[in-house]
Amino acid sequence: MKLPKTFAALAVLAVLAAGCGGRGDSVEIDGGTAQSGTEATADFGTLSEVCGPGDASSASAQGVTADSINVGVFSDVGFTKNSEFVDTAEVFTSWCNAAGGINGRELVAVTRDAKLMEPRQRMIEACREDFALVGGGAGLDALGVQTRLECLLPSFPAQAVQEKSAGADLEISASPSKIPGYDNYAGFRQWAVDEAYPESKDAVGMINGDSAVTRVVGQISNETLEDLGATVIYDELYPAMGVADWTPYAQAIKSRGVRGLIFMGSFNQLAKLEESLTNMDYKLDWIDANNNAYNAQFIELLGRSADFQNNLVDLGGVAPLGSGEPAIEELTALYEEYAPGAQLTLPALRAWSSWLLFAKAASACGDELTRTCLYENALQETEWTGGGLHVPTNLSEPLPPQPCFNIERATSDGWEAADFGADNGLYRCDLPARELVGDYAAPLTLADVGKSMNDFE
């Protein structure tokens, strides 16, 4: 259900998007030079000395010199104007470099702006210049994954979107948003239709934005619901360009008596659909708004539907922003210091975890920083929590995924935790993720491009 935020606008504006690309898409974010010997220590949450001074002296791999490490950050910012990954990169590199960089090497983040249509071009540039990809993501990421594997570029994505890309080889997701072969929202679904709102079990509805990505997500949700014994009585698409009037959809939902709604699309559109529903005085038991809606804008757009309807999102084991978790508080402070005005979002939290993982693994390599060393160090992490940002993930064995989920509810005062039976601190971990049986495109492997781990250096 992790969609590109962009997709509502996918089909449009290519008038302008068609012809934009080139060198300028690689904007270097320079977080200030590494200052060796400063007093600042880069501790974050439960992690200590993520970054620090050192005496690195060799150019041990592509993108690595004695003084700097070049890493690529994928983003669609040129298309969506959403700068969340760019902001995270800015904050992390500034903070890390202020503490001395990685063994004295300055961390340089280069934005690889795919502008939706150009993931492959940016990937080729990344292949030529970067040491690794960290803390980014692109809506059409499947278009670049083959190139990435051909040049054996390791990736620590903040978010993976398409089936061919999520969980591909040489990819380590610090906090995976999508797991190949599993529906990681199964726990949420099961809780919703079996425990919390059993009356909704025979009256589930689904509305998907019309794009190839969401169609697959829709099939997966269908499979899970069927497996749970729930009945989908309404399954509908809406055009990616938007809907002139949501009233017919709302009327159809009302007249079919839908009680639980899964909405996979842009939250702007959902807010308008809910306005129609609320106008009709029709209240659903629950609406899965999908976690792209987990932000303040959505609440603002909802208006009076915020309290009238029951909007839920599953954060999939990431600590909520207002939860008072020490790691969240720390990160909020860092954002205020290094990128005031930038918004902390769920993908940004995941990006931050990826950056931490990268920095920790790279630091442990010392002077001999190679891709193999980086990759193997990162795989050592069997209980990675990003310093306390999320539930532990076993990176050496990503499958089956960690079973925890946590649900937030929208209210007019902001997001608050729903009553979902948390049994492990902020999270609930007793309903395992469900393995899919249907045939969905598998992630790309090194073998698919004629390479093997022996080629990896």
């Binding site: 089909a11 290519a14 089936e163 938007g242 702007n268 208006g303």
Partner: protein, 661 residues
């Protein structure tokens, strides 16, 4: 059951009211000025944003903000648009289209520049605090009720304006014969201005009413109006009452489809494409009067010389080789698209430039080419390319069947509808079995293509593919030039100049149209396949309707009559905009408005027959005779006085008088 039927009907009526307001604005501008305003939705979008800025952004009271937007800013903007459109008034349909498309893309770019799309903005519906009322099981909010009453009021007011006032009669007369209106002492320019102002005010009204119902997003608001097009076509772009009927039909159809369409893997896309299909059906069912406003000056289509064309083709290949050797792979993919886009643009030269058939679906045809090539050429089979060309050609020829009944702006709308159907229904469709073979569209979000193997040599690196694409563009350029020089080219131009005359001389309209649509779709299919091969993997969004508008825009600016346009369009799309952003990243927002600026400059007559012919003329003058200063032109009345009378002068005068009639 009956209850539900009525409920959905009432819901449909509320949607219909919005369409009615928007489409009546379209109709008013079209009937008077003969311009079908693709930017109508974008104007409404600007009004909605302007209203947001005044009302929410700057906190002005509603009773100030609303009149300022609808009654002051919108009319001013309408007058500006009229000024912009005046030069194209006498030109062909393609040129008029370009102006409005340029306006559309320019307004979207501008709005995104001014109002950062990342910030959530919303407008409250009017009377949001009043409880909605009920009719049966249907709920009507006061906003909806307001919209419906405004729709009715607009209908009555327009009727009164057009039939009860002098200006209205002038406006209607302008449509029939501008010259005649001028002769009777009325002012056709004034009539046009009134029409644009009325149209803009209606667009603004529609924008302000629709914005609270949808999210305040520049592109979405601008492009929502496909359904309103369908309503306008019901009224044949002329009759307001029929337009209102059309709006009701479209609105109710959408509501009933939402309520009753059975659900399976193939049908949801159909529902999304339904307004476009309805538009197509309406175009075909309602008889259209022959398009008026034939007072256009048809541009000459120059005949390329054989030597010149061959030299030009050589240059294309050389450019391909140079790019392939000089550029790194990443840049090569970006700039190498020159050739694939060039091929697609050449398909427009043949179709629009020679045969005068406007098509907005060429990029969709390219998408078909790419999909077919991906299906059959997965292991680099070379014959997948001709198959792809064949399939897209055949589909293109099918498109020609509706084209038989349509021309000018109707044809543009019809092909736009086809492009939208491809976008929303066909491309995202689940795999189908054809002859026991599974055929996949962009089902998994992308289609993968590999370069072909020719004579045992695999063309698979980006450099090789770039050269291959350059060779293809060169061959297509030669082919199109050959068509122009040959019999088919003369027939196509005869068809463009007058279909009636062409038929009178015994030409078969059906055959010729099907042929030219087929050939040009095949060329576009080739372009799509090349494009896909260069990118390795393509997504349906890359072949969308809106992307196609951009190519159309630049191709028309380049000049549709000349074969050099292929390279020009390709280079424009892949070149300068990338380069500018690359050199000065800060210019990104500005660069987005460039295509629009180019289109407007073109339309306003700054560039006459397009850029390519202009460049050629200058180049020819420069090469041919460097030393002679061009002779100063002496007006005819001074012949024999300011210069000696030549024997040829008399003959020339006679001829001029004879042609004037």
């Amino acid at each position: 059951m009956m209850d539900q039927f009525i409920t959905f009907g009432i819901v449909g009526l509320s949607t219909a009211a919005i369409y009615a307001i928007i489409s009546s604005g379209l109709v008013v501008t079209y009937t008077t000025t003969g311009v079908f305003n693709f930017a109508h939705g974008a104007v409404g979008m600007m009004a909605a944003f302007g209203y947001w800025q005044l009302y929410i952004g700057w906190g002005l009271p509603m009773w100030v903000a609303l009149p300022v937007v609808v009654l002051v800013l919108a009319p001013l903007f309408g007058m500006l648009v009229e000024l912009l459109m005046r030069p194209v008034q006498g030109l062909g349909d393609a040129e008029k289209l370009v102006m409005t498309i340029a306006l559309l893309s320019g307004l979207i770019a501008l709005a995104q520049w001014i109002w950062n799309p990342m910030k959530a903005r919303s407008l409250q519906t009017f009377f949001a605090d009043r409880e909605p009322f009920h009719i049966g099981a249907a709920t009507i909010s006061w906003h909806q009720a307001l919209t419906m009453s405004i729709a009715v009021a607009v209908a009555l007011a327009l009727r009164a304006l057009l039939f009860r006032t002098r200006t209205g009669i002038e406006m209607r007369a302008t449509v029939d014969d501008r010259t005649l209106v001028g002769l009777t002492g009325a002012n056709p320019v004034r009539a046009n201005r009134v029409a644009w102002i009325t149209g803009t005010v209606l667009a603004a009204l529609g924008g302000v009413l629709i914005a609270p119902m949808v999210s305040l997003d520049a592109t979405q608001l601008s492009l929502l109006i496909v359904s309103a097009y369908a309503a306008a076509i019901f009224g044949r772009l002329r009759s307001l009452p029929m337009t209102f009927v059309g709006a009701v039909v479209v609105g109710c159809m959408e509501a009933y489809l939402a309520g009753y369409l059975p659900q399976n893997d193939y049908l949801p896309g159909l529902r999304l494409a339904a307004p476009a299909l309805l538009l197509l059906v309406a175009l075909l069912i309602f008889p259209h009067r022959r398009l008026r406003g034939r007072e256009r000056n048809l541009t000459q289509v120059p005949v390329p010389t054989a030597r010149g064309t061959i030299a030009f083709a050589g240059i294309i290949v050389v450019i391909g080789l140079v790019l392939a050797t000089v550029l790194g792979e990443g840049h090569l993919i970006t700039y190498g698209q020159i050739f694939a886009f060039g091929v697609i643009a050449l398909s427009l030269v043949l179709l629009v430039g020679y045969a005068g058939q406007i098509s907005l679906a060429q990029l969709g045809m390219a998408g078909i080419g790419a999909v077919v090539c991906a299906n059959f050429g997965a292991e680099g089979q070379w014959w997948a390319i001709p198959v792809a060309m064949g399939v897209s050609g055949a589909i293109g020829a099918l498109v020609a069947l509706p084209a038989l009944r349509l021309s000018g702006v109707y044809l543009a709308l019809g092909t736009a509808a086809i492009a939208v159907v491809l976008d929303r229904w066909i491309f995202p469709m689940a795999p189908v079995e054809i002859f026991g073979r599974e055929f996949t569209f962009f089902n998994q979000g992308s289609a993968d293509l590999v370069g072909p193997r020719l004579f045992g040599f695999a063309i698979d690196s980006t450099a090789e593919l770039t050269v291959f694409a350059a060779v293809c563009l060169a061959s297509v350029t030669l082919f199109v030039a050959a068509v122009r020089r040959g019999r088919l080219g003369r027939r196509l131009i005869a068809l463009r100049d007058s279909e009636t005359a062409y038929a009178t001389f015994g030409g078969s309209l059906l055959y010729t149209k099907a042929l030219v649509f087929g050939i040009s779709a095949a060329i576009a299919g080739l372009g799509g396949a090349l494009y896909g091969m260069q990118l390795q993997s393509v997504a349906p969004e890359q072949f969308g309707f809106v992307a196609g508008l951009g190519i159309f825009l630049i191709a028309v600016v380049g000049g549709l009559g000349v074969v050099g346009n292929g390279l020009f369009t390709g280079a424009m799309i892949a070149g300068p905009m990338n380069l500018l952003v690359a050199l000065w990243p800060a210019t990104q927002n500005l660069v987005h408005t460039l295509p629009a600026a180019a289109g407007l400059a073109y339309g306003s007559g700054a560039v006459d027959d397009g850029v390519v012919p202009a460049v050629r003329q200058r180049a020819e003058a420069a090469f041919r005779n460097r030393k002679t200063v061009p002779e100063k032109e002496i007006p005819v009345e001074w012949w024999g006085l300011q210069r000696p009378w030549a024997p040829s002068d008399e003959e020339e005068l006679d001829r001029a008088i004879a042609t004037r009639g």
